[in-house]
Structure formats: structure tokens, C-alpha cells
């Protein structure tokens, strides 16, 4: 059995976002990086209608002991990674606690109600204030903007995975990321993804 190097066992990570942002790929990559190291991984996902503008959440359970359930108990998240900032707030309502950490991309994806002017979207300051008040530590990054510089908003995910690695919350590093990429991508795509990972890592490394 693997000697635990986790700050918590199980470590409960949630990746949240909006359908189409690439939650599933992000959770798979993180899961692969950690299962390579011998951890038991469970990923809980529900998708389907989510593709059409709904919120999507992936629960990742990491343990050196055994397989945990695909749903994190309410109020028991250790880290929330948000591809969309208001989704972080929504997740904290169900899974937050005073010890939770939050890493959030700040690029909004407007809901239908906001787009058509029926609902309002909170300001960046308001979002930050709200997340800061409800977490022990938080990181706000502009991964979509950085991704656009690399040529495609979809790299935003990878940048966030790098940023998660930079927080040192979980044993994730450049090498294990490369290995996980090799399992699922064509060789010509690897370099730009590694670059995105490193950019993200820079953003949160103390």
C-alpha cells in the first residue's frame, strides 16, 4: 500500500464549470496523473444535458487507502477548481466549509438570464470578496486570457491544472502531467499543453 503523502485522506477535489468548458478532460488528466502514482482515484461526473449551457461538476477523490464514493459528502470539499467564477460560489454552497481552498478562473460565462438582460452578473470584486470570505485560501487567475495568448481558449483547463499543481495541494508535477498527456494525445499536441501547464504553475507557485 502506498504511504500517504496527502494532506487529507481522502483528498476531495471538485472541478466545476459550464458545459463545453472541458471539465471532463481536466478531471481525467488529474485522475490519470494521480493514479499513475498509485493512488486510488474515483471521479464522479454527471453529464448529459450539461452540454447545453448547464453547470457541470466533477468530484475527484484521492486516497492512499481505498476507493471512495463518486460523490463527495456535503460540506467536505478540500479544494474547488472553478473554470467559471460564479460556479465556485455555487459549489461552495453545497460542499464548502471554512477550511476549503478555491482556485478560480475569472473569465465569466454568462447564463441565459444574464445574456438576455433578466439577471445580473456580479462584479469581479464581488465574486472575489465572496469566495475569500468563504474559504481558507484562494487563488484568482485569468486562465482563459492566457489560453487565448496560446491560441485557443480550451488551454484554459490545462493552465488551471498547472495552477492547481502550483498550489501544492496535491502531488502533481510537470513529469506526471507529461505522462498523462502521452496516454491520450497525439505527440504534436504535447508541447503546447506542457507550456500551458507551466504557465499555470507559475501563476500560483509561491
Amino acid at each position: 500500500m502506498k504511504q500517504t503523502t496527502l494532506s487529507m485522506d481522502p483528498y476531495n477535489l471538485i472541478i466545476t464549470g459550464v458545459g463545453g468548458q472541458g471539465n471532463v478532460l481536466a478531471s481525467r488528466l488529474i485522475g490519470n496523473m494521480l493514479s499513475e502514482q498509485g493512488y486510488y482515484i474515483t471521479i464522479g461526473e454527471s453529464f448529459g444535458a450539461a452540454q447545453r449551457g448547464g453547470a457541470v461538476e466533477s468530484h475527484i477523490r484521492v486516497s492512499a487507502q481505498r476507493t471512495y464514493s463518486p460523490q463527495i459528502p456535503k460540506g467536505k470539499a478540500h479544494m474547488v477548481v472553478a473554470l467559471e467564477p460564479t460556479e465556485a460560489i455555487r459549489i461552495l454552497r453545497d460542499y464548502g466549509n471554512p477550511g476549503v481552498k478555491v482556485l478560480s478562473n475569472m473569465r465569466p460565462v454568462y447564463s441565459m438570464g444574464v445574456i438576455c438582460g433578466e439577471q445580473s452578473y456580479p462584479s469581479t470584486e464581488k465574486i472575489k470578496e465572496c469566495i475569500t470570505a468563504s474559504s481558507k485560501a484562494s487563488w484568482f487567475v485569468n486562465s482563459t486570457d492566457e489560453a487565448l495568448k496560446l491560441g485557443n481558449p480550451i488551454f484554459g483547463n490545462i493552465i488551471l491544472i498547472g495552477a492547481l499543481a502550483g498550489t501544492n495541494a496535491l502531488p502533481l508535477d510537470h513529469k506526471s502531467f507529461e505522462k498523462a498527456l502521452l496516454q491520450r494525445m497525439k505527440p504534436d499536441k504535447i508541447d503546447v499543453n506542457l507550456k500551458a501547464f507551466d504557465i499555470g504553475k507559475e501563476m500560483t507557485s509561491a
Partner: protein
């Protein structure tokens, strides 16, 4: 790179539950795989269709679940291991054939996979199919995790061959769409020869014709079927998928199955009661292994049954307890019967821990009231709800827009009957709440056929139904035949977007590709409808003006069944991606927003996500990232503020 169809024995992979099931089937040497798409089942066939050449499979997306089961059964009758895959509603469709099949029995191992959705996360009901196993008398297996999803699938084929009957493997969303670590097993070499043997006597299961026959013979077959079920029950007595973990004599025994097993383990941890609670996990939930249950129920006087939705396990265990004698019948049962658990919705570790804390009178650690009250308020204020909507440039938005307008113009309280698919969202604001009934696949047209005959009783509303192209073949054709034959006055609108969009573009008989991507002849929907006797028009929903003209004329024709095929490829279709037809711009000088008198038709009513209300400038604007350039909003703006330029 390790993949599902190449991974070697002993290799570890992080697999989705559906992938684990697919791998289990490959390890069993399956040859024939069929199914109809439906969340959360679709990935099983998607993955296997990529292995068809390497692993010598025949994979097909069948026209519906009944036919899928029949095609798989043919494989079994010819001696091949075969599998049919569907979501729970599909089992209802297949059930007519199943009732016969269970009586005749099977030859090559035959497994029916039913992927269910407690909590109706992506389904219209949370109805379940476990009851079929009891009602139709065949064995039911339920994996409690990811490794087990693989191992149990393989075992299901072996079980089917031992008892010569179909076996159902039931999975749920949290397993099918969850992922976990799986150690792979061996992939066998298979080189089967298919042959249907029928020269033996009618009573010889392996060599005779496979028939259901009326009268005493049917009763005989029924008795034989029940013996098979008993044989399965005997095998279940020492089946590795039934396990007990906990103290020798726990104060409370949990009996559970499926993903609930993982919730139970975690719940016991959450209330910190490992010395007081034991967990009995059943992988074989019908028929019940009586001796095995007796042995473990003896451990305690109190039993809590944890399962999702209806009390299937609970009631069967209580009946068994009565049969086991007064001592067992007198035990205290907790679960759905005594109100400890709900009979609706999916479970999670927190709900199970809540039940444990009530039953055992234990404290449960929760987040402080201050924290939760505050974050609750923040979420209400700062996390705007995300309502489902059609994608930017979705043809359905344009189609429903025209249908809605035409019904208003006609002004006879007309309405639309719909069913399942992306177009079911026609009931939501994104479809202008045009759809007024939604039930099972194809039922919109069946209902319309009924409504269309009520003129005799004074009904003078225009009746429309909508269906997708895949649904047309699945179950609409019989309803359409009924409507045509009985001269119902209705209009069927086929929203043909060239694929099963909702579940990820699985092919269907109207397209020229099969599961594995090779060419097949396509059936043409307009020609079929014409041959059946309907008047048929084909329009492009993006040509709003023409679509409205044709629709209006069609619904006002009082004579029999009319069909309008609204044909435009789905915005998410792989073929369509990144092909913009128009460059779209809002002319800020023409768009005067609230002042215009249009009542912000474009953003308030039409609501394509590509079209955004700019609260500061008080005009509409195009979101260049989201807009796919379909050009439809150009047609709906009454002031001509939305301008389009054709991209060559």
C-alpha cells in the same frame, strides 16, 4: 498507449464505469453488441464500436431497444456471446420481446445492460428496471464499483451460459459516468462460427427450434424457466460479488447494492460507527441468495436497507425474512417502509449518514450554521441559475420560432406534442414553450393521432407533433401509420438535424454511417412519409420566411396527415463545426433597444446565446465567440438592425 481493446492482463487503467463494462464484455469474448443511445448508457457501444475490427465484433446502433435485443438474441441463438445495451426506459421498449425470450432461453451468453438514472439527472423519469427481473424471472446483477463493473460483466456471460437464459446487468449514472481504478484481465482469442441449429426436438434447448407455443407447452417452458432461476439462486449463494464487512455482531446491519455500497462505507466513516455497523453488499439482487442472507441476518436484530428509488431489495428481503421463520420476521427493518429513507431521488454519502445518525441516535458533524447561511445567501445573490437552452445556432430554436409564430397567426389555440431529445427543450423558454406534452419516445405523434380525431367532439385546435430524425425510426413510424390510416387531422414536424444530437451523434437508419463508421444505405424520411400516404414538404428552418409560409399553409390544410421535414444539421455536429455561413453584426444606430417597440424581441424572446443584451449601451450585440453565424436573428429583428453578410 494502453487502450480498452489492447490493454493487457494486469495493467491498471482509470476507467469510466461504462468503459469497464465494455472491457468486461471484451474479456468475455463478446461478438455481437447492439443498443440504442440513451444517457447514461451510450459510451458502452461508442467504445466497443472502436474495437470492432481488432476484436472481431459486430456492433450496431439499432433502430430501437426492442430490435437491439432481438438482434443480440439472434447472436446468442447462433451460439455467439452477445450483449444489448440501453437506458432504463429502453428496457420497457424491449420488454415485449423479453417476456418471450426468457421462456425460450438462450444459447451463447446473452447479457442485457440497463443503465439507470436515479434522480433523473439526464432523463425524464427515474423509473427503474430492476422489477423486470422479478416479473420476467431472470437474474439481476448490480456492480458496486468500477472494478466490479468489469468483472461482473464478464461473469454475467458465464452465468447466462450456465443457466441458458438472459442475465441483466444494471448500472446507474454514478457508476456509468464515474471513473475508478481497474486492473485489466485477459482478452481471449475468439474465432466463433455462427450457426443456428434447429433440427433437434422442440424441447432440446441447444439443438431444437426456439419457439414459444401456446397451451400446456408454454406452462412447461415456464417451469423450465423457473428452474433456471433457481439454479441462479443456488450459484449466488457463494458468489464473490456478495460480501460482508463489519463486526461479528453489529448493532445494525446495512444491506445494500450498486453504488450505494460506496455511500454506505463512507457514511459509516462519517458517523464514526465502524464498531456498531456492518455492511452486507449484494451484487446479485434477484433472485436473492436465501442461505447467504440468512447467515448474515442472524448477526443482528436491526437491519437497514439502503437502495435508490423504490424499495425493491427491501420488500424482497422482508418477504424472505418471513419465509425464514418467526425469528427473522420479528427483526426490526429500517428503510423506505418505515420512512427512514425516501422512495424518490438518488442517494449520496451524506443522506446515508443522516439515516444512520437517526437510526443509531448519533451526532453527525456538519458545517456551522453561520457558514452555510452566509454562503447560501451569496449563492442566491451571486451565482445566477443556468437554465438549459439550445446551443447558439441550433436549428430547433429557429424551427420552434416559426412553429410558434404560425400557431399565433392561425389563432386557433393550436399546440405541439413532443417527446425525448434536444427538441424536448421546446417546452422551455428557449423553445418559446411551444411543446405542451412530453412523454416517451414517439409518443408525441401517438398523442397527436388521438387529438387529431377529437373533432367529432368539437375540438377545433390545430394539432402538431414534433420528433427528431432518430426518434422517427425508433417509434414514430407506427404512430404515423396510425394517424394516416385513421385520417387524423395533424401535422408532424420532423426536426431533422442529421443525428442523435442529445446523446452525441450516434447514427440511425436515416444516415449513411454505421456504428463503426463505414457506409450503409440511408432511408429517406420524406420518401417514407410520402409512401405511407402523407403530404410532405421539406424546408430549411434557417430560411425563416419560407419555413413560416409553408408551415402556415400546411397546418391550415384540414385534410389528413401532413408532414413538414425541417432539415438543418445540428450546430454541434462534427461536420458543422467552425463553418460560419454569415458574418453577423448589430447596427447600433438602428437597434434602439427598449425604445424600438420590438420589446427586445431578439434577446428577451428569441434568446440565442450568441446574441447579448448590452445593459450599458442599451442595444443588442453579437458575441463573436458564441455566434455560429446561422443568420436567423437577422430574420427576426423587425427593424432590420441585425445585419448579415454571406461568407463565401
Amino acid at each position: 498507449m494502453t487502450t480498452l481493446n489492447t490493454g493487457r492482463k494486469g495493467e491498471k487503467m482509470l476507467l469510466m464505469g461504462n468503459e469497464a463494462i465494455a472491457r468486461g464484455a471484451l474479456e468475455a469474448g463478446v461478438n455481437v453488441v447492439t443498443g440504442y443511445p440513451g444517457t447514461p448508457s451510450s459510451e458502452i457501444i461508442d467504445r466497443l464500436s472502436k474495437a470492432d475490427r481488432e476484436r472481431n465484433l459486430y456492433v450496431e446502433w439499432s433502430v430501437n431497444e426492442k430490435v437491439a435485443t432481438e438482434v443480440a438474441a439472434a447472436g446468442s441463438f447462433a451460439g455467439l456471446r452477445s450483449m444489448a445495451v440501453m437506458k432504463m426506459m429502453g428496457v420497457n421498449v424491449a420488454s415485449d420481446f423479453l417476456m418471450h425470450l426468457v421462456m425460450t432461453g438462450t444459447r451463447g451468453g446473452l447479457v442485457l445492460v440497463s443503465a439507470e438514472d436515479p434522480g433523473a439527472i439526464s432523463s425524464l423519469t427515474e423509473g427503474e428496471s430492476r422489477y423486470y427481473s422479478k416479473f420476467l424471472e431472470f437474474p439481476l446483477l448490480e456492480p458496486g464499483g468500477f472494478q466490479e463493473a468489469k468483472d461482473m460483466t464478464k461473469w454475467a456471460f458465464e452465468l447466462s451460459e450456465k443457466i441458458n437464459n438472459i442475465v441483466m446487468l444494471r448500472t446507474v449514472t454514478r457508476i456509468s459516468h464515474g471513473s475508478g481504478n481497474v486492473v485489466l484481465g485477459e482478452l481471449p482469442e475468439t474465432s466463433p462460427r455462427a450457426h443456428f441449429e434447429f433440427n433437434g426436438t422442440i424441447l432440446d434447448e441447444q439443438t431444437g427450434p426456439i419457439l414459444t407455443v401456446p397451451g400446456p407447452f408454454a406452462v412447461n417452458l415456464h417451469a423450465r424457466q423457473q428452474n433456471k432461476l433457481q439454479a441462479a439462486a443456488n450459484l449466488f449463494e457463494d458468489c464473490p460479488f456478495n460480501t460482508y464487512e463489519g463486526p461479528e455482531n453489529p448493532e445494525l446491519l446495512i444491506i445494500t447494492s450498486s453504488v450505494c455500497h460506496l455511500y454506505c462505507i463512507e457514511a459509516v466513516e462519517l458517523v464514526d460507527a465502524p464498531d456498531r455497523v456492518g455492511i452486507l453488499k449484494l451484487g446479485t439482487t434477484w433472485p436473492l441468495p436465501a442461505k447467504f442472507l440468512k447467515k448474515h441476518m442472524q448477526r443482528t436484530e436491526r437491519i437497514l436497507i439502503i437502495e435508490e428509488v423504490l424499495p425493491f431489495l427491501e420488500e424482497n428481503i422482508q418477504v424472505l425474512a418471513c419465509q425464514l421463520g418467526a425469528e427473522f420476521a420479528a427483526k426490526k427493518f429500517h428503510g423506505k417502509g418505515d420512512g427512514t429513507m425516501d422512495k424518490v431521488g438518488e442517494l449520496n454519502p451524506t443522506l446515508v449518514a443522516g439515516a444512520l445518525s437517526r437510526v443509531l441516535d448519533l451526532a453527525m458533524e456538519t458545517v456551522s450554521v453561520d457558514y452555510s447561511e452566509n454562503i447560501n445567501k451569496q449563492a442566491v445573490d451571486n451565482a445566477p441559475d443556468r437554465m438549459l437552452t439550445f446551443c447558439p445556432g441550433c436549428p430547433h430554436r429557429a424551427s420552434f420560432w416559426s412553429i410558434k409564430r404560425v400557431l399565433e397567426l392561425n389563432n386557433q389555440q393550436g399546440f405541439v406534442c413532443g417527446d425525448i431529445g434536444c427538441y424536448g427543450m421546446g417546452m422551455l423558454p428557449c423553445g418559446f414553450e411551444t411543446v405542451k406534452t412530453v412523454h416517451s419516445m414517439g409518443s408525441g405523434t401517438g398523442l397527436a393521432s388521438g387529438f387529431g380525431k377529437l373533432g367529432q367532439f368539437g375540438m377545433d385546435q390545430k394539432v402538431l407533433s414534433v420528433c427528431g430524425d432518430s426518434t422517427f425510426f425508433h417509434t414514430v413510424m407506427p404512430a404515423l401509420a396510425n394517424a394516416i390510416h385513421h385520417r387524423a387531422d395533424i401535422t408532424l414536424v420532423v426536426l431533422d438535424n442529421s443525428g442523435t444530437a442529445m446523446t452525441g451523434f450516434q447514427p440511425h437508419p436515416g444516415l449513411t454511417i454505421k456504428a463503426s463508421g463505414t457506409e450503409l444505405p440511408a432511408l429517406d424520411i420524406p420518401s417514407i412519409c410520402r409512401a405511407m400516404g402523407a403530404k410532405v414538404q421539406v424546408v430549411n428552418p434557417f430560411d425563416v420566411e419560407n419555413a413560416e409560409k409553408v408551415l402556415l399553409k400546411t397546418i391550415e390544410d384540414p385534410d389528413g396527415v401532413k408532414v413538414v421535414v425541417m432539415r438543418q444539421i445540428c450546430a454541434l455536429s462534427p461536420e458543422k463545426k467552425s463553418k460560419k455561413q454569415f458574418e453577423i453584426q448589430v447596427d447600433e444606430n438602428v437597434c434602439i433597444g427598449e425604445e424600438c417597440g420590438c420589446n427586445r424581441l431578439c434577446t428577451r424572446v428569441f434568446k440565442c446565446p450568441g446574441l447579448v443584451w448590452d445593459g450599458e449601451k442599451k442595444t443588442s450585440k453579437i458575441d463573436a465567440v458564441l455566434c455560429v453565424g446561422c443568420g436567423v436573428c437577422h430574420s427576426i429583428c423587425p427593424s432590420g438592425a441585425i445585419q448579415r453578410k454571406e461568407i463565401a
